[in-house]
Each structure stands twice: as C-alpha cells, then as structure tokens.
C-alpha cells in the first residue's frame, strides 16, 4: 500500500514539472513573437523615414513656381517703391524750391552786382 502512494506522488510531480515547462515554452514563444513584431514595427518606421527623406529630397530639388513668382513680385515691388520715392523726392524738391524762391532771387541780385 505504502509503495503505491509513493509512485503516485512521483508521477504527479513529474506531470507538474511538464506543465510548468510547457508554460515556460509558451512564454518564450510569446516573447519572441513580441520581439519579431517589434522588429517589424521598427523596420516599417525606418522604411517610412527613408521614404519621407526621399520625398523631401525630391521636393527640395525644385522650387515651387508660386514661390519664384512671389519673390519676383516682391523685388519688382521694391523697385516701384524706389521709383515712387524718387517721384516724391522730386515733389518735395519743387515745394522746397517754391519756398526759397524769394531768397534765391535776392541772391541772384546780389550776384549780379558782385564781381
């Protein structure tokens, strides 16, 4: 009777070890699956990053026409401003000349009799 109990206990323990080892194997599998997926995620990110940079290279190699036009427009506008400033300056000069007309006339008289 005593022998029977011992053998049953040994078989039971052997079964428990097997169950635990099986669980351990499944856990390793789960982790290595997670690692594989993580590698996939990283690889995908690296691929997308490369695509983003390639696209940027393409975009950067040519200037959009509207930017060129905008720059051209700005520079032409600056030229018009210069032109307007010159016109304004001429108007101011006319006004200033009108203001000093009598003074200049006196000077001219003075010069007429000065040798």
């Amino acid at each position: 009777m005593g022998e029977k109990r011992v053998s049953r206990s040994l078989i039971g323990e052997e079964l428990d070890v097997k169950v635990i080892l099986e669980e351990r194997r499944k856990a390793d599998l789960l982790i290595s699956e997670a690692r594989r997926k993580a590698e996939e995620i990283l690889e995908d990110a690296r691929r997308r990053a490369r695509e983003i940079l390639e696209q940027a290279e393409k975009e950067a190699s040519m200037l959009p026409e509207e930017l060129v036009e905008e720059e051209r427009r700005k520079l032409y506008e600056e030229l018009s401003l210069v032109e307007r400033a010159y016109d304004e300056e001429l108007q101011n000069l006319k006004t200033a000349l009108a203001q000093i007309r009598e003074e200049v006339k006196k000077l001219a008289y003075k010069e007429l009799y000065r040798w």
Binding site: V19, A34, L42, L53, V68, Y76, E89, L90, Y113
Partner: protein, 208 residues
C-alpha cells in the same frame, strides 16, 4: 489539492511575466518607431527649408541682376530730374532778375558802373576800350564818362564799336590781347553757375 494550487499559481505568474515582457517590448518598439518618424519629418522639413532658401537666394540674385540696369536708370533719371528742376528754376529766376535790372534804368546804370570797376581792376592795361551792345552806345558813353569822373584819368577809357549782345559791355585792352566780358549773357551764366550748388544744397536740405 494544495500542490495543484501551487502549480497553478506558478503558471499564472509565468504568463503574467511573459505578457508584461511582451507588452514592454512592443511599447518600446512603438516609441522608438515614433521617434524615428518624428526625426525624419524634422530632418525633411529642415532639408526642404534649407534647399528652398538656397534656391530662392539664386532666384533673388537672378532677378536683382535683371533689375540692376533699371534701378540704375531710375537713379540716373532721378538725378537728372533733380538737376533739371533746380537748374530750370534758377534759369527762370536769373532771367527775371536780368530782365528787371535791364528794365530799370537806375539798376542798369549801376550794373554798368560795377562792371566797369571790375574790368578796370581785372584788365591790366593803360588803355581800355568799352564795347557797348547794339543800341546802347549813348547810355554806355554816359556811364563811362561818369566812371572817369569818379576814378580819374587812369586807365584811359574809350567807347568802341557796338557789338551784338543783349546788354552789358565787353571791355578789352587797346591792343585787344585781354578782354573782360561783362555782357548780361555772360553775367547770367556766371550767376547760374554760382547759384546752382548753393540752391541745390538748400533745397535738398529742406526737401528731406
């Protein structure tokens, strides 16, 4: 029963730890992936911005070189415009002054007297000939005689033949080697030349 419970607890623990580890691995990978993409986007926008600035600079240089002759032309026109405006105003004023002086006998005689004084002190000769403009001989003779009275007999002054001019006189040495131009035309040119820089300075200062 007790042993089975213990084994079950170990199994649950193994599962929990494994799941936690797997979650951690995935979460770490997602975070790293997010960073990689973010960095790539930042690098991409920097790249685009830098290259575009460079290209824009080239465009700017090209347009500026296209505009340079026009800018220069504008500047030239502006300077010419300023000069023409001031010079024509001075022309008008001087003509007005000359015409007023010519139209007023007292002023004109005064002009002729001053002109003779200047001629005598400029032309070193013992004998001078005063040439009046056409139609002014009589007036010039009177002024010359008045002048002689005021300065005495030296140098000797004679009124020569009339010349074609619109007022004033030309005084020359008797040998014709030296002469002094006191015609109103010459005087007008001289006044304009003297006034131009003066008036320019005044108006430019005021116009600012």
């Amino acid at each position: 029963m007790e042993r089975r419970g213990f084994v079950e607890a170990i199994i649950q623990e193994i599962r929990r730890v494994a799941q936690e580890e797997a979650q951690k691995i995935l979460k770490g990978a997602e975070e790293e992936a997010r960073k990689t993409l973010e960095e790539a986007k930042e690098k991409a926008s920097r790249l685009i911005e830098e290259r575009r600035q460079k290209l824009l600079e080239e465009v700017r240089k090209k347009v500026l070189s296209e505009l340079a002759p026009r800018k220069l032309e504008l500047r030239r026109k502006a300077l010419l415009g300023r000069y023409t405006l001031v010079a024509s105003e001075i022309d008008k004023l001087v003509s007005e002054v000359i015409s007023e002086a010519k139209g007023d006998l007292q002023k004109y005689r005064e002009y002729l007297m001053e002109a003779l004084k200047a001629a005598v002190s400029s032309v070193t000769a013992s004998s001078l000939v005063v040439h009046p403009c056409k139609g002014e001989r009589e007036l010039v003779e009177k002024v010359v005689s008045e002048f002689k009275e005021s300065v005495g007999g030296s140098p000797e002054l004679a009124v020569g033949e009339e010349i074609s001019c619109s007022g004033g006189v030309i005084v020359r040495s008797a040998d014709g080697r030296v002469y002094f131009n006191a015609t109103l035309d010459a005087k007008a040119a001289e006044i304009k030349e003297r006034l131009l820089p003066l008036v320019f300075e005044k108006v430019v200062r005021r116009a600012r």
